[in-house]
Structure formats: structure tokens, C-alpha cells
Amino acid sequence: MTSRSSSLRRARPLLGTIVEVSVHGRPSSLAHALEAAFAAVAAVHRLMSFHDAASDVSRLNRDALHAPVRVDPRTWSVLAAARRVSAASSGLFDVTVAALLQRWGHLPARAGAPRPDSRANWQDIELAANGTVRFRRPLTIDLGGIAKGFAVDEAIGAARDAGAESVFVNAGGDMRVSGGRAERVHVRHPMRSGRWIDSGFLREAALASSSAGGVPPGPHVDPRRRCPAAAFDGVTVRARTCMIADALTKVMLAAPGLAPEVLGAFNAEAFAVSGDRVVACRPGVARAA
């Protein structure tokens, strides 16, 4: 062996998906860095699972209406980031939509939970500087739209702290690369199985994708602008952190028209797929006119 660097790549089932961690650096540090990364992901899962009755999310949904609930600093910081995305998107990103997801059968109902107020939204979550959280109205939160991205960020940080020179983490499509390495990424076409969109290289950045799911939105194309006139089939966001990339995919799917403002606010860019067309919005990149 002439090289003093080596790498290790592993995948484990976590967060309801398959999480892949790849670490690069001094051979003696790699096994430890890899374990630290997976442990960080598992910790986020424990804190923010909607299904686990002992998670911070479940404790908040049960008790935060009645009294302030102290949560782990990680949960608090995810709620704070969610609030920033909600504010920047006029509430199009909102962690209080869990009640709707429950009604539509995407999330299980909770026996004995307070009946959510239909007027409640993200602004009714009170984040106190002392690390507690309180709900001003009966509501149910779900961090499914942001926690996976946060888990990726945590894994990256843990592996770097443990001595890895560069790290790549991919949690079922939400990914981030850190430490100078570049990773080639392909995005699964949301509607055409077996088709992939080459999205180039990722370096010191994060990428997350969401698809509209369900039936194809149909061939609604604005012929003048040569872009889709209906919702996109799927959206991919590139941002500095995976948490923000993850959250912004939801906003871009719900309201592509907000792209310049919202992406700009987070120094992010996005591309979207609609049929055979790929469109991009890069507010930070030169966009004259």
C-alpha cells in the first residue's frame, strides 16, 4: 500500500430507508467515523420519529399543549429551522400538517391525543430560548419533511469529528458530501422507471429530492415558456445543508412560483422534472432580465 488514505462504504436500514455512509481518510480512523455517522442517524431517528411514543415528537404531540416541554437541542434546532423555512415560504412548509396526513392515512392516528385545531399552523409552535417548546393551539407535528435531511447533516458532522477527511451520506436520496470530495449523482426519474437524470457532481453541498407521487400530472406545458404549466413530477434541491435541501423540495413541489425568493433566501438552487423536460431555477446564478 503506497497510499495513506483509504475508504469505507456501508449501508444500513435506518429512518425507514437505506442509509449509506462512505468515509475517506486515514485507515485507523475510518471504522470509528463510520460508526459515529450511523449512531448520529439512529439518534435523530429516536428523537424525531412520529411512530415512537418515547420520541421528542411524540412527547410534544402529547404534552406541549398543556405545558412547555423540554426537548433535545437537536429537536429544538430542527423546529427552529422548520420555522425559518415556513416563514420564508409563507407557510407552504408547515410541520403541523400531520393532522391532514393522519386523516389521509399516511400517518397513524394517536389515541388520546388532543384533537387538532383546524386553524393551527406553524406559528402556533412556541420555541423558548431555554430549550422548551409549547403549542398555543391543539396541533400535531411531524418532522418527516425535514428530519431525514438533518440526520444526514448530523452524520456528516459526526464522521468529520471522528477524524474522517471526507464523508458522503445518502439517506434514501437525501445526501450530502463534505471534505473536498466530489460525488457524481443521478436522480431517479419520478415517473419513468429505469430512467435517471444526470445531475452532475456534488461537492461541499447537499441534495434532496421529492416527487409528487400518484398519477402523472399530465402534459400541461406552457408552449411559450417551454416549461411545465402544471405541478412538477419531481423536484431536486441543492443547498448547503441537507436539512434545508430536504425541506425546500416540499416548498418547490407545492409552489414552484416561489422558487426565486425561497431558493434565494437559502442560497439554494433546484431542478424539476416534468415528463421528458428538466427545468432549473438558480437564483444565485446569473439570471439577467
Binding site: 456501508r10 436500514p13 425507514g16 457524481r184 449523482v185 429505469g194 437524470i197 429530492s209
Partner: protein
Amino acid sequence: MHRLSAWTLLPAAAIVTSAYATTYLTVEEAQGAIFPGAKLVPVPLTLTDAQVREIEKRADVSVRNREPRVWRVDGGGLFIVDEVLGKHEFITYAIGLNPDGTVRAIEVMDYRESYGYEIRHEAWRRQFVGKTAADPLKLDRDIKNISGATLSCRHIADGVKRVLATYDVALK
């Protein structure tokens, strides 16, 4: 109506057709990862009809392979290699059990994602033409990292249930 003028068409965006496959660990590597330094001895096991029925009843998952690949770990514990098949994905994974039958660790060994479309597709098939068993078959040459609609690990979760039921019925 959404305001979409900020989105511009990427005329050169490459949409490719391919399969995705990656190998994380060989059997020996997975053994070393889950039970470092331990001696593992293969356990020949053929499940009887009655055992298959009982496993399926307990796990509510069908048993396709009557000869699970099992190793006994010196000093206690079991190492099992299992395969799960989703609609488009094929996953081989290793599961380590503690001496008390609880899960010690799970490692994905091999992940393949493929679509019927590709199998029929001439260009996809052509890459295999002329290959012999001696040629390393590398499918991940082009597609290494994938994003997009999340594939759930439900199949692995089902597989783990089956492995745990197999332990209760035939390996305890």
C-alpha cells in the same frame, strides 16, 4: 396558475437509462464487521414443511428459501445472510443475532435496483454481450449515487421478521 418564469429549460439535461447496483460487503467482510475476530461455523439447515408454515404464520412473511445461510458464532450468536426482493430492488443483507436472539447488527451487503424495462431494452442488454464469468460485471460504472423518490426499507424489515421467526422455530 403557478408563476414559472423563473424556471428555465435545461436543454442538455441527460436522461439516461441504466441499472444501479452496488456491493458493500462480501460474506467474509460482513462477518468481520458484525463479529470482529470471531470464528464462525456454517450451520447446515433445511426447513421442514411444518417449520416453513410456522415461520410464515409467526412473521406473516413468505419463506422462499428453505435453506437459509446460517453461521454459528464461537462464543454465542448467529450470523445469517438473507435476501429480499422488492418490486424493483434486490437486496442481500447480513444480520447478526446476539446469544439471546436479539438483533446485534444489520449490514446491507449488496443492493441492486433494476426495471423490467431495462431488461428488455437492447442497449442495456448489450453491455452483457461477450462477457464471460471471468469478466467483472460492473453495473455501477455510470450510476453511483442515486437520489429521488425514496425506496422504503420495508422489505428488509419483513426479512428481519422472517429471520427472527426462523431463529425461534429452527435455531433456538
